[in-house]
């Protein structure tokens, strides 16, 4: 009971309300207390509903984050951030952008409460721009994954878990694709003077890979060499041989299958987590866009507060997503 009662409305008030019917007179024989309805929770309806919604959101993201952590630590192999072309500085910068947007929405609320309408509008607009900026960076990151053949699912995803016979046959199948054969013929026909240094090296390596992939007696190590040539796993010391791309990067049409141990599960969780977060960001941006249509004075401070609560929650989720996805 006292849990629900605000400090200024003491538990006694609450108890009185509950037992009022049975106490017609107070101790001094005066008239009975005049009762008045009091809401159960000392906050506005909109805010209450927003908080109830947020508590369901806590569980929603807890389920996603919890499954990610459990999947990640239960996996025999999990790719390092470099293996999947995650850039920590970009992630950290995105965190910074989102924190900035959290500050601007708080300042918009303060300004609206102080009836500084145009200032509130400026802060709100800044929030909208920062949120859109966050999404833009995210889109850039997604496109970097896609260009490496890292998709969450099969038809476009090129990820194989191990350099085994299945991988070898997938490489063979791709190299036997008539369209690819055509492209490779074209590449072979081009004079050396036309090719860049990377393309020249790539052409030589592609010839090796073709030879190895089509060979009758492949060892496990040969398949690992093919995988390394197609898309090397970058090692921890960034800037090493890894970031120099592989055949897939040199020739964007090639799209040979790649090997990232644990990469499929990684892609599923990464895109699910960041995707749901991005959806929340988009919803937040729509809300801010709608709010911008209003006069942002004290009258609408409640709306700004509720939208802000939601936005801070989105920020909160990213605070956990960033280290879990980029730094673990």
């Amino acid at each position: 009971m006292s849990f629900l009662a605000n400090a200024s409305r003491s538990p006694a008030t609450f108890a009185m309300n509950a037992s009022a019917a049975s106490i017609p007179h107070d101790a001094h024989g005066h008239h009975g207390p005049v009762l008045q309805y009091q809401p159960g929770l000392p906050l506005s309806r909109g805010k209450l509903i927003m908080w109830l919604f947020l508590s369901t959101e806590i569980m929603f993201f807890a389920a996603l984050l919890g499954s990610y952590v459990v999947l990640r630590f239960g996996a025999a192999v999990w790719p390092k951030p470099h293996h999947v072309h995650l850039s920590e500085p970009i992630g950290a910068f995105n965190t910074f952008v989102l924190i900035c947007s959290s500050v601007t929405v708080v300042l918009a609320l303060e300004a609206a409460r102080a009836n500084k309408r145009s200032l509130a509008k400026i802060w709100m607009l800044a929030t909208l721009v920062l949120g859109a900026f966050f999404l833009g960076i995210k889109a850039y990151e997604y496109s970097a994954k896609f260009s490496h053949g890292i998709y969450p699912a099969a038809p476009r995803g090129l990820i194989y878990e191990r350099p085994d016979l299945y991988y070898g046959s997938a490489v063979r199948a791709r190299l036997s694709d008539p369209a690819i054969i055509e492209q490779m013929k074209e590449l072979d026909a081009r004079p050396e003077s036309e090719l860049t240094a990377a393309e020249l090296t790539g052409r030589r390596r592609l010839a090796q890979v073709r030879e190895m992939a089509m060979a009758a007696d492949q060892q496990a190590f040969d398949l690992a060499v093919i995988a390394d040539q197609v898309m090397p796993l970058a090692d921890d010391a960034a800037g090493g041989h890894g970031h120099g791309g592989g055949l897939n990067e040199t020739f964007s049409w090639l799209q040979l299958p790649i090997v990232i141990p644990g990469g499929n599960m990684w892609a599923s969780t990464y895109f699910l987590l960041t995707g749901f977060h991005a959806i929340h960001v988009i919803v937040g941006l729509i809300v801010f866009g709608i709010l911008l249509l209003y006069e942002l004075g004290p009258k609408h401070a409640g709306m700004i507060e509720n939208a802000g609560l939601y936005w801070h929650f989105v920020d909160l989720v990213w605070i956990f997503l960033f280290p879990l996805l980029y730094l673990f």
Partner: protein
């Protein structure tokens, strides 16, 4: 605690409200603004200085968790140290956002009703996943084990990479 108006007896009851008047308006000096629910003159907490201080702290903490990625981080060989550190940093950041930006610090006690059960459910949910999903690789069918990535694959790929590293990048026709 609210101060009752002097003409009312409060021997056995709490403050008694007059018709049409709210309890808040009777609350006297004993009630601080922090106890107030949202509504009246309670939005004077916060302020630009405080928000900027929180913002600075958040930026500093983000830099701290990013620091684990830098080469100056002393525990690069023990990732668990970094993980624990980053989770501590994240929880601190989350707490700062919730307390100050979401104004929870200044809210009444209802905040516990909503947040504590949700947090407990969240933790319980994650723990429930451990036996079936976290420990899924303890026992797997042979067929599945055949296709699963394993640390040996990573090793093999690293060896292949260092073999490629060993040879000059531009010119030679030697395979592996």
């Amino acid at each position: 605690m609210s101060t009752p108006s002097p003409n009312e007896s409060t021997a056995s009851h709490g403050p008694v409200t007059e018709p049409g008047s709210l309890v808040e308006s009777q609350a006297g000096g004993g009630s601080t603004s922090a106890d107030h629910p949202a509504g009246h003159g309670d939005e004077d907490h916060g302020g630009l200085g405080l928000y900027l201080a929180v913002f600075g702290a958040l930026c500093f903490l983000t830099t701290m968790s990013f620091f684990t990625y830098s080469s100056y981080w002393p525990w690069r060989d023990e990732p668990q140290v970094g993980w624990a550190f980053m989770m501590a940093v994240s929880c601190t950041k989350a707490l700062l956002v919730v307390l100050f930006f979401m104004h929870v610090l200044w809210e009444a006690n209802w905040k516990y009703v909503l947040t504590i059960p949700a947090a407990m459910m969240a933790i319980f949910l994650a723990i429930m996943l451990i036996p079936d999903i976290g420990l899924r690789n303890r026992m797997v069918a042979q067929e599945r084990a055949l296709h699963m990535a394993r640390p040996a694959d990573l090793l093999l790929l690293e060896q292949a990479a260092s073999a490629a590293e060993g040879e000059p990048h531009h010119a030679d026709d030697h395979d592996h």
